[in-house]
C-alpha cells in the first residue's frame, strides 16, 4: 500500500523538467520559494492571455457603432471578467510571485519564513481562478455586474444567476491567499535577513514589498468581510446591501473602495520597487535619494487608505466630504512625484544602457506620469462629475495599470529572466515587443481620453453613430490588436529564449543586489556563500573593496 503513495521527491535540481521521472510532482508538491514564484508567474501569464482575449472581444464589439459582434449580456460578462482577471489574477499574482521568488534571495535567506503557507497561497489563487472561470459554465454565464459589483445590482433580486456567487467565492479564495502571503512576506523580511542586511539597507524592491504586505494585511480583510456579507445576502437572504429591506447600498461602495483604492497601490508599489532596481543598474549609479524613495513609499501606503471616497464623488456625499477627499487625494501626488524625481535624478548623468528592461522602465515613468496627471485632475470633484463613468476614466486607469504596473512587470521579466532560467532573453525580440507595446498601448488608450470627454460612457455595450465616435473607436481597436501582437512577440520571446537564449552567467547586468551573487538559476539552497553585506550594494562593495558605498560602515 505504502509503495503506491508517491513520495514527494527531494529537490535536487533548481528547475526539474516535467518529463523527468516525477517531474510534475516535484512542481506541484513544491514548497521551494523559487518554484512557487515561477508557478505564480506562469499562472499570471495564462490569466493574462485569457484576460487579454476578453479585452479583444470588448474592443472588437466597440470597433463600430451599433455593432452586433456579441450580445449585451456577453459584453457585460466580458468587461466584468476582464477587470477581475487582470487585477486579481494577473497583476497581483505576478507581483506577489516575483516577490516570493526574489525577497529571500535579496535578503540572503534560504526560503520564505513559512514555505508551506507560501504554497497554500499559490494554490488558493489557482483555486480562486477555477471558481471564477467555472461560472462561465453555469446556466446564464459569468458575473455581469462589473469588477466593483455595486449593490444592489449584484444582489439577489437583480442578479439571479450564479455568476456573482462564483465571483465572490473565487475572490474570497484570492483574498485569503493575499493576506497569507502578506504575513509571510512581513515575517520573512523582518526576521530572516542575513547579517549586515539592516532594514535601512534593504533593496528598495524588498522595502516596497514590505509596505505592500502591510497594505494587504490591513485592507484585504475589509473586502473579505464585505464579500462574506454579500454572500450572506445572496445565499441566506440577508439584506446588508439591499436598501429596500433596511440595508445600505452605499455601504458596499464604502467597503469596496475602502479596499479598492489601497488595492491600486498594492498593484503599483511593487512595480515601483522593480523600477527602483532596474533604473540604477542600467544607469550605472546608485539610486538617488534612497531614503526619499523608501520614506515616500510609507507615505503613499498611509495616505492611500484614507482617500477612497474619490471613487464616490458622484454618489452625493456632500460638498464638504468631496472637498476633503479631493485635497487628500491630490496629496498622494506629492510622495509619488518624489519617486519620479528620484528616478529621473538617478538617470541624470548616468551611463545609461538601453537594454529592454531599461526601455520599459523609462517608458514606465512617462506613461505612469500621464496616468498620474489625469488622476490628479479627476481627484477634483467637479472635473470628476464631468468624466466619471466615461472612457476618460478607462484611459486614466489603463495608463496607471498598463503603462504603470504592466510596463514594470515587463521590465522585471526582462531583467530577472536570466536569473530565473539561466538564459538571456532575446534583445531583438525584446525591442520588437517594446515598440509594438508603445505604439499599441498609446493608440488604444490615449484616444479614449477624448472619447471620454466627448461623453462616451464606459460599461455600455455599444454606442450610436455620433460624429467621429466610430473612427476613434476603430483606432482604439486597431491599437488593441497591435497590443495583442506585442504580447505574442513577448510569449514567443520567452519560448525562444528558454530553448536557445544566450547563457546568462551569474550576473549578466553587473547588478549589485544579492540575488546576482548566486548561480542562474539559483541552486536549490539558494547560496553556497553569501557575500558580506556592508552597504546597500553588496556586490559593488565586493568588486570595489577600495571604494565601498559606506566607507564608515562597521565591518561586521
Amino acid at each position: 500500500m505504502s509503495s503506491r503513495i508517491p513520495i514527494v521527491p527531494e529537490n535536487i535540481k533548481p528547475l526539474p523538467l516535467l518529463k523527468e521521472n516525477e517531474g510534475m510532482l516535484s512542481w506541484v508538491a513544491s514548497v521551494d520559494h523559487k518554484q512557487i514564484g515561477i508557478m505564480y508567474l506562469l499562472a499570471s501569464m495564462v490569466f493574462f492571455v485569457i484576460g487579454g482575449i476578453e479585452a479583444l472581444v470588448i474592443r472588437i464589439q466597440l470597433a463600430q457603432p451599433e455593432f452586433g459582434f456579441i450580445s449585451p449580456e456577453v459584453y457585460n460578462q466580458m468587461f466584468t471578467m476582464h477587470g477581475t482577471t487582470m487585477i486579481f489574477f494577473v497583476v497581483m499574482p505576478f507581483l506577489i510571485g516575483v516577490g516570493v521568488y526574489l525577497v529571500p534571495l535579496m535578503i540572503g535567506a534560504r526560503d520564505m519564513a513559512f514555505p508551506r503557507l507560501n504554497a497554500l497561497s499559490f494554490w488558493l489563487v489557482i483555486f480562486g481562478g477555477i471558481l471564477l472561470y467555472y461560472s462561465f459554465f453555469t446556466q446564464s454565464g459569468a458575473s455581469e455586474v462589473g469588477w466593483f459589483a455595486y449593490a444592489p445590482l449584484s444582489e439577489k433580486p437583480f442578479s439571479l444567476n450564479k455568476g456573482p456567487t462564483y465571483w465572490v467565492l473565487g475572490l474570497l479564495a484570492v483574498g485569503i491567499s493575499s493576506v497569507a502571503s502578506g504575513l509571510n512576506n512581513i515575517v520573512t523580511i523582518l526576521t530572516m535577513r542575513i547579517k549586515g542586511m539592516t532594514i535601512r539597507r534593504l533593496p528598495l524592491f524588498v522595502w516596497m514589498i514590505l509596505v505592500t504586505s502591510f497594505l494587504l494585511v490591513f485592507v484585504i480583510p475589509v473586502i473579505a468581510s464585505a464579500f462574506s456579507m454579500m454572500l450572506l445576502d445572496r445565499l441566506l437572504g440577508a439584506t446588508f446591501f439591499t436598501p429596500a429591506h433596511g440595508g445600505s447600498a452605499i455601504l458596499w461602495q464604502h467597503f469596496f473602495w475602502g479596499f479598492g483604492h489601497p488595492e491600486v497601490y498594492i498593484l503599483i508599489l511593487p512595480a515601483f520597487g522593480i523600477i527602483s532596481e532596474v533604473i540604477p543598474v542600467f544607469s550605472r549609479k546608485p539610486i538617488f535619494g534612497y531614503e526619499f524613495v523608501a520614506g515616500s513609499t510609507v507615505a503613499i501606503g498611509l495616505l492611500s487608505v484614507g482617500v477612497w471616497a474619490h471613487h464616490m464623488f458622484a454618489v452625493g456625499l456632500g460638498n464638504v466630504a468631496n472637498l476633503y477627499f479631493s485635497l487628500a487625494s491630490m496629496l498622494i501626488a506629492i510622495p509619488t512625484g518624489v519617486k519620479v524625481l528620484n528616478w529621473v535624478a538617478t538617470m541624470w548623468g548616468g551611463k545609461i544602457y538601453f537594454a529592454t528592461p531599461m526601455l520599459f522602465a523609462v517608458a514606465f515613468i512617462i506613461e505612469f506620469v500621464m496616468g498620474g496627471l489625469t488622476g490628479v485632475a479627476i481627484a477634483s470633484a467637479p472635473i470628476d462629475w464631468v468624466v466619471t463613468d466615461s472612457y476618460f476614466i478607462v484611459a486614466h486607469f489603463h495608463y496607471v495599470l498598463y503603462g504603470g504596473s504592466l510596463f514594470a512587470i515587463f521590465a522585471g521579466v526582462y531583467y530577472w529572466f536570466p536569473k530565473f532560467t539561466g538564459r538571456m532573453m532575446s534583445e531583438t525580440l525584446g525591442k520588437w515587443h517594446f515598440w509594438l507595446t508603445i505604439v499599441g498601448f498609446n493608440m488604444t488608450f490615449f484616444i479614449q481620453h477624448f472619447l471620454g470627454v466627448m461623453g462616451m460612457p464606459r460599461r455600455t455595450y455599444t454606442y450610436q453613430d455620433f460624429p467621429y465616435w466610430g473612427s476613434m473607436n476603430l483606432v482604439s481597436t486597431i491599437g488593441a490588436l497591435i497590443l495583442a501582437l506585442s504580447i505574442l512577440v513577448f510569449i514567443w520571446n520567452i519560448f525562444v529564449s528558454l530553448r536557445s537564449g544566450k547563457e546568462a552567467g551569474n550576473n549578466p547586468w553587473h547588478a549589485w543586489t544579492l540575488e546576482w551573487a548566486t548561480s542562474s538559476p539559483p541552486a536549490v539552497h539558494n547560496f553556497d556563500l553569501v557575500p558580506p553585506v556592508r552597504g546597500r550594494r553588496p556586490l559593488w562593495d565586493l568588486e570595489h573593496p577600495d571604494t565601498p558605498d559606506e566607507p564608515n560602515a562597521k565591518v561586521v
Binding site: 526576521t191 532594514i199 523608501a294 484614507g306 456632500g318 464638504v320
Partner: protein
C-alpha cells in the same frame, strides 16, 4: 453682525487659561535656568497655541454654535499643543524630571506604548460620545477638565514617539505602526461622525442664540447642522490623520539620519523582531 464682527467680539479671556499658560512659561524658564534654545521656541509656540485655542472665537463658537469649531480646537489641544510642548523640553530637564517620584514611575506606566495608545485614541472616542459631549459644553467645570485632559493625554500619547529622552522612544518602524493604527482609530470615529447624519450632537442643533449670529452661520455661511457635523468629522479624519502621517515621516527621517549602529542586526534565520531594538535597551 458680519463675520468680522463675530470674530473680533467673541474673544474670551478666561483667567484659568492665562494663569496656566503663565505657569507653563515661568516653570519652563525656572527649570531651564532661563537658557533658551531653538527648542524653546517650539515650547513657547505650544503655549501660544494653547492660549489661542482657548480664548479665541474657536472656543466660544465651539461651545455654543459649531461642532466643527470644537473639533479644530480639539485637534489643536490633543495633537498639536502637546507635541510642541514635548518637543520643546530639553533632554537634560526631562531626565531630571523623571528622577522625581512619583513622576518617574508614573511616566513608566503611562509611557508604555499600549497604555499611551489607548489613552490617546480613547480621549478621542470617549470625549466624543454624544451624550458626554452635550453635557460637557453645558458645564463649565467639566469643560475645563476636558481641555486640560486633552493636553495631558496628548503629552502621554506622543511620549513613546517624541520623548525628549531617546531611550524612551519606540524604534521608527514600530512608531510608524503606533501612529498609523492611531490614525485608523480616529479615521473610524471621523467616519462615523461624518456619515452619521445631522443631529448627533444635539447641543448644536438649536443653540441659544445670545449674540444673534445664527442667521449668519446657517444662512450666509451655509453651516447647517449637517454640514457643520460633516466638517467636524472630516476634520478629525483627514487633517487629524495627516498629523499622524507627518509624524511617521519625521520618525523615518530621523531614523535614516541616525548613525547605523543604533539598529539591531539580525542573525540570518534568528526569529527576533529587528524592530523591537529600542524597547529592549
Amino acid at each position: 453682525m458680519n463675520i468680522w464682527q463675530v470674530l473680533s467680539s467673541t474673544w474670551n479671556m478666561e483667567p484659568w487659561v492665562l494663569i496656566t499658560a503663565l505657569a507653563l512659561l515661568v516653570g519652563y524658564g525656572i527649570t531651564t535656568g532661563f537658557r533658551f534654545t531653538k527648542l524653546s521656541a517650539l515650547y513657547i509656540l505650544g503655549v501660544l497655541i494653547f492660549v489661542l485655542a482657548l480664548v479665541s472665537p474657536l472656543d466660544y463658537l465651539g461651545r455654543t454654535y459649531l461642532f466643527s469649531a470644537h473639533m479644530i480646537q480639539h485637534i489643536l489641544l490633543l495633537l498639536i499643543v502637546p507635541l510642541l510642548l514635548l518637543l520643546g523640553i530639553p533632554k537634560a530637564l526631562a531626565e531630571r524630571a523623571l528622577k522625581i517620584e512619583p513622576l518617574g514611575s508614573a511616566m513608566k506606566v503611562l509611557g508604555n506604548p499600549i497604555i499611551a495608545w489607548f489613552l490617546g485614541v480613547g480621549a478621542m472616542w470617549v470625549w466624543h460620545l454624544p451624550s458626554l459631549h452635550n453635557t460637557v459644553v453645558a458645564n463649565d467645570n467639566l469643560y475645563i477638565v476636558q481641555q486640560i485632559s486633552f493636553v495631558l493625554i496628548g503629552i502621554i500619547f506622543w511620549w513613546p514617539v517624541f520623548s525628549p529622552v531617546e531611550s524612551r522612544r519606540l524604534s521608527p518602524l514600530v512608531s510608524t505602526l503606533y501612529l498609523s493604527s492611531a490614525c485608523l482609530g480616529c479615521t473610524i470615529l471621523g467616519m462615523l461622525i461624518t456619515f452619521a447624519g445631522a443631529g448627533l450632537y444635539t447641543a448644536y442643533l438649536n443653540p441659544a442664540d445670545s449674540i444673534g449670529i445664527l442667521p449668519l452661520l446657517r444662512g450666509e455661511l451655509c453651516l447647517t447642522p449637517g454640514v457643520d457635523q460633516q466638517i467636524g468629522g472630516l476634520t478629525m479624519w483627514v487633517p487629524g490623520c495627516l498629523i499622524y502621517l507627518v509624524a511617521s515621516m519625521v520618525t523615518i527621517a530621523r531614523w535614516y539620519g541616525a548613525p547605523e549602529e543604533s539598529e539591531l542586526i539580525p542573525n540570518s534565520g534568528a526569529g527576533r523582531l529587528a524592530t523591537a531594538s529600542h524597547k529592549n535597551k
